[in-house]
C-alpha cells in the first residue's frame, strides 16, 4: 500500500473515531453520572440522521438540519428523561436497560411510520463538495475534514464545560456523590435532565454530520450504539477523556482493519476491546471499583 493511500485511511479512521466520540461522550456521561445504561442513545443518532435527510430534502441545506435538529433532539431528550428515565434512578441497571430497550423498539417503529423502510442518501453540502489533494493521485473529501474540525471543536467545548465551568464542576461532583451535591443546595434533578438532553443532542449532532457520509437507513442507530458502548468501555465508564481516546482507537482499528486484514475486519473492534479489558479490566481511564 502506498503512503498517500495509507494516510488517507488513517484520516478516515480519525474522522470515524471523532464521530464516534460525539455519541460515546454522551453515553459515558449518562452512565457515569445518571447511572443509566442507555440503549436508546443510538436511536437519537438515527433520528438525527433522518432529520438531516428530511430537512435536507426540504431546504436543500445541512445547516438548517443542524440548526433545527439539534435543539429538537435536545427537547426530545428532556421529555424522555422527565417522563421515563427519571423514574428509574436508584433502580438497578437492568431495569434501565430493559426500559431503554423497549424505547429502542418504539423509536424504530416511529422512524418506520414517519420515514418508511427505504435507504436514503444525503447530498454533501455544496460548498464542501470538493477534495483536498493528498499526494499526487489521492484526495480527501473536504466534508470529512469539516466533520473532523467540527467534532474537535465540540470535544474542546465539552472539555471546557466540564473542567472550567460551575455546571461542569457540579456534573463531576454529581458523578462521585449525588447526595452530597444535593445537600449543598444544587438542583440535581435539573442537572440530570440537562445532562441527559445534552447527551441526546450530541448523539443527534453526530447523526446529522454522519448522514452525508453514510446512507440513512432503518436500524442504523443500533450498530453505532454497540460500537459506542465498546468505546465507552475501552475508555473507562464515566471518563470523557477515555471516550475520546477509545473512540480514536476504535475508529483506527476499524478502518485500518478493513484495509490490512479484510477477512476478520468486522471482529477487529471487538478483539481490541477484549484485549484492552483483559489487560485493564476497568478500561483505559476507568476508576477502580471502590472509588465509584
Amino acid at each position: 500500500m502506498t503512503l498517500p493511500l495509507f494516510a488517507l485511511q488513517l484520516l478516515n479512521g480519525v474522522e470515524y473515531g471523532l464521530l464516534l466520540f460525539l455519541v460515546a461522550s454522551g453515553l459515558t456521561l449518562i452512565f457515569g453520572v445518571l447511572g443509566v445504561l442507555n440503549f436508546a442513545h443510538g436511536s437519537f443518532y438515527m433520528l438525527g440522521a433522518y432529520l438531516a435527510y428530511w430537512i435536507g430534502e426540504r431546504t436543500g441545506s445541512l445547516a438548517w438540519a443542524l440548526a433545527l435538529g439539534v435543539p429538537l433532539l435536545f427537547a426530545t431528550g428532556w421529555v424522555v428523561e422527565r417522563l421515563a428515565i427519571s423514574r428509574l434512578y436508584g433502580r438497578d441497571h437492568l431495569s434501565q436497560l430493559l426500559l431503554t430497550y423497549g424505547m429502542v423498539l418504539l423509536f424504530n417503529e416511529l422512524q418506520r411510520a414517519l420515514f418508511g423502510n427505504e435507504v436514503h442518501g444525503v447530498a454533501t453540502p455544496r460548498p464542501l463538495a470538493f477534495g483536498l489533494p493528498l499526494g499526487e493521485l489521492q484526495s480527501w473529501p473536504a466534508y470529512r475534514a469539516f466533520t473532523c474540525v467540527a467534532c474537535l471543536l465540540v470535544a474542546a467545548a465539552i472539555r471546557h464545560v466540564l473542567l472550567r465551568t460551575r455546571f461542569g464542576m457540579r456534573v463531576r461532583a454529581g458523578a462521585v456523590n449525588p447526595e452530597m451535591v444535593e445537600a449543598l443546595g444544587v438542583d440535581v434533578r435539573r442537572l440530570l435532565s440537562i445532562l441527559f438532553s445534552a447527551g441526546t443532542a450530541l448523539a443527534a449532532l453526530a447523526g446529522i454530520l454522519a448522514a452525508p457520509l453514510t446512507t440513512v437507513y432503518p436500524g442504523m442507530g443500533e450498530g453505532v450504539l454497540i460500537v459506542s458502548f465498546v468505546v465507552v468501555v475501552i475508555g473507562g465508564i464515566g471518563s470523557v477523556k477515555g471516550a475520546f481516546f477509545g473512540a480514536l482507537l476504535v475508529g483506527l482499528a476499524d478502518t485500518l482493519g478493513k484495509v490490512l486484514v479484510p477477512a476478520v475486519s468486522s471482529a477487529m473492534v471487538y478483539a481490541v476491546m477484549a484485549a484492552v479489558l483483559l489487560w485493564r479490566p476497568r478500561g483505559l481511564f476507568g476508576q477502580p471499583a471502590e472509588a465509584r
Partner: protein, 314 residues
Amino acid sequence: MTLPRSVRAGLLVGAIALALVPLSGDRFWVQFAGKVMVTCIFAVSLDLLVGYAGLVSLAHSAFFGLSAYLLAGLTNQLGLVSPLVTLPLCLAFAALAALLIGWLSLRATGVYFVMVTLAFTQMLYYLFSESPALGGSDGVFISQRPRLAVLGRTVVDLGDRTDAHAAIWVALVLSFLLLRRLVRAPFGRVLTAIRINEPRMRTLGYATRRYKLAAFVLGGALAGLAGYLDATLYGFVNPAQFGWRQSGLVLVTVLLGGKGTLYGPAVGAALLGVLEHFAQRATEHWSAVVGAAVVAVVLFLPRGVAGLLEGSRG
C-alpha cells in the same frame, strides 16, 4: 423460596397444557409451542446467571449458536444422526466454550463483564457470518434431523413434529427441575450470596470465581441444549442466532418475566411469544406494541410478571 400454591398450580397446568398441544393436530401451534418451550429453556438457563449469580451475560446466544452449528456439522459432514451421540457432543462443546469464554470474561466485573461477553458474542457472529466455509450469512440447512434407532427400528424421530414436541417438553421439564433443585442446594445459596456480597463470601473462604465459572458453564451447556433443540425444530441454523440481538432478547425475556425466580423467565418467554404472534397479526407496527409492553412492565412492575403473580410479598 417456596412458591405460592397458586403459582405452583399455574405452572403445573401450563406444563400439562403444553404437553397436550399436539392433540390439537394443528401444525402451526405444535411448532409454535415447540419454539416457545425452546425459548423457555434458553431464558431459564440465563436466569441462573442473571437472577442468582448476578452475571449479566450477553454471551448466552454464543453457546446456543455453537451447539446448533455443531449439530449441523456433525449431521452434514459426518452423517451422525443418533441423538445419543450428537446431544452429548453438542452440550459438551457448548460447556467447553462457556468454560473458555467464562474464564476470560470473569476477570472483569459489572458492566465490564457485560461488555466482554458482548465482545465474544460479536466475534463469533462475524466469524460465522463472514466465513463461507461455515455457511456465511445464509446459514446452513441440516440434512437429517436426529433420530434414535434401536435394533434397526426408529424409536424417536425428531423430524416428526409430535416426537420433537415431546422431546422438547421433556427437556424443558428436566432443565427446570434441575435448576430448581440446584438453586435451592448449597451451590445456589452460595451463588445468591456472591451476588449480594462477593467480598464477604471471599472473606468466608469461598472461591467465588470458581462458583461463578461453574454457574456460567452450566448455564452455557443448557443454552447449548436450547440451541440443539432449536436446530432440530427448524432444521436450519444461521448466524443471527449468535448476534447480540438474540442475547439481548433473551435477557429482556428474563427481566420481563422476573429474574431470580426461574419460573418467571419461562412465563416471560411464553407471554412474549404470544404477544408477538398476536401483535404481528393485528398491526404492521407490532414491535411498537412489544416495546410499549416492555416499557410498561419496567415502569409499573418492578419485579417483572413474577412479581405480579406473587403479589406484594417481600
